[in-house]
């Protein structure tokens, strides 16, 4: 108990909360950019063009078929080499920015499949009815298909958000100061890992359970309007 109070002082808690904030921020930005990527790549995957379909498929398969840790390391460690080779300049990578970049691209591959499944689950009569009233492809997507898909996509989408909060811990391997990293730093400082790691676990749980709770509420609200 004494040891716990010694470690869990105001300073360390603040430090860890800052780390938790970073984790949350990485997850939110990645979810946002991943959604944009996922929507575009889902549209490509469902397009008539073989080339677009091919590009999207390769993207999805590569990023779902290799470990996220590997992807993060490639972007972080090899990014400067690529830019030197391609554009002739080297940069010092910021772990958080590179991390958001890598996680977004990875998440985009998963979200592609979420969007595609949700969009394709909409009855084709909806497309046909839209066509008979003169809506083009984009208008049909925007006003008819996506609003109905979003309802169906909500549960797996929230799940993806929770996965991202947990996966953001992988950024500790490239030195980003997120929640897990703060815990290990404190562990080293106090020669005790159990307490800071447990504190991190509690903070992760608070985040993921809160999100799950609000998602369930929202789902229930949406179900009512059916």
């Amino acid at each position: 108990m004494e040891l716990f109070l010694k470690i869990a002082n105001k300073g360390t808690i603040e430090y860890m909360l800052l780390g938790a904030g970073t984790s949350l921020m990485v997850a939110i930005f990645s979810l946002f950019f991943g959604s944009v990527l996922g929507l575009v790549s889902a549209a490509m995957k469902m397009s008539k063009s073989k080339i677009l379909r091919g590009i999207a498929t390769v993207y999805v398969e590569i990023f779902r078929g290799t470990p996220m840790m590997l992807q993060i390391m490639i972007f972080y460690l090899c990014g400067p080499i690529f830019t030197k080779f391609l554009f002739g300049f080297v940069y010092t990578p910021n772990p958080i920015i590179v991390g958001i970049f890598a996680v977004s691209i990875n998440s985009g591959a998963y979200i592609t499949e979420l969007f595609r499944a949700a969009i394709q689950s909409i009855d084709k009569g909806q497309w046909e009815a839209s066509k008979t009233i003169g809506l083009n492809y984009f208008e049909t997507m925007r006003y008819v298909i996506l609003p109905q898909s979003l309802k169906r996509i909500l549960p797996p989408f929230v799940n993806e958000f929770i996965v991202l909060i947990k996966d953001s811990s992988l950024l500790s391997t490239i030195g980003a100061v997120e929640l897990l990293q703060t815990a290990t730093v404190l562990g080293g400082k106090y020669y005790n890992y159990l307490i800071p790691l447990s504190m991190a676990a509690v903070m992760y749980l608070v985040m993921t359970l809160t999100i799950a709770h609000f998602a369930r509420k929202l789902e229930r609200r949406l179900a009512e309007s059916d």
Binding site: E128, A129, K131, T132, I133, G134, L135, N136, E139, K151
Partner: protein
Amino acid sequence: MIKAEHISKYFDKFKAIDDVSLHVKKGEVICIIGPSGSGKSTLIRCLNGLESPEEGTVTVNGTVLDYKKPNDVTKICSQIGFVFQHFNLFPHMTVLDNLTLGPVVAQKLDKAECEKRAVELLRRVGLEEKKDAYPSQLSGGQKQRVAIARALIQAPEVILFDEPTSALDPEMIGEVLEVMKELAEAGMTLLVVTHEMGFARKVASRVIFMDEGHIVEDNTPSEIFDNPKSDRLVDFLSKVIHM
């Protein structure tokens, strides 16, 4: 106003429509009858661009449909109303929004003006008080009347119906047929795929009998029902009338 010339439609190797020509003239009320799988739906879906025939041409108001330009086809065919067997209303929108979506989004018309017209049309099909309801809160017959109003707001010159009453409970069929009859009496051009032989006999000006992708007979209702010429039509009528 719609003219199909020698159209054929394949699904893989299967020929669902086989060299069919059909000319729909202004003011006509045409009923298409025939056994299941004879290509009735496929034919009327070809007339408004929902299906593209591999052979032959479809001309709408003087323009030949060019399926390589899907946006043009959609634009031209939005002048043709279409009512589906399963309504295909937009479930996430109110009845009013179901009606105004086309004019407001595709035609970029003034929203308030469209809503006024939508309410008038809903009154015409007897559903003015349902304008803020969602489709899930309506009965089948009401849904189909909303679908008819949604077709009407496009100010179409012709409306195509694909078995508009086949998905309805028997007690709701009458209310939908009544609306269609009123449209016919008001001079609207209608093309109706139907199994309602009573409607075909009373309301149609022309009845087409299809079988195996062909138009087998094309005549006045009294000739079709009282004086069928082909064995296949005789056979078909004996089946549907006994049922």
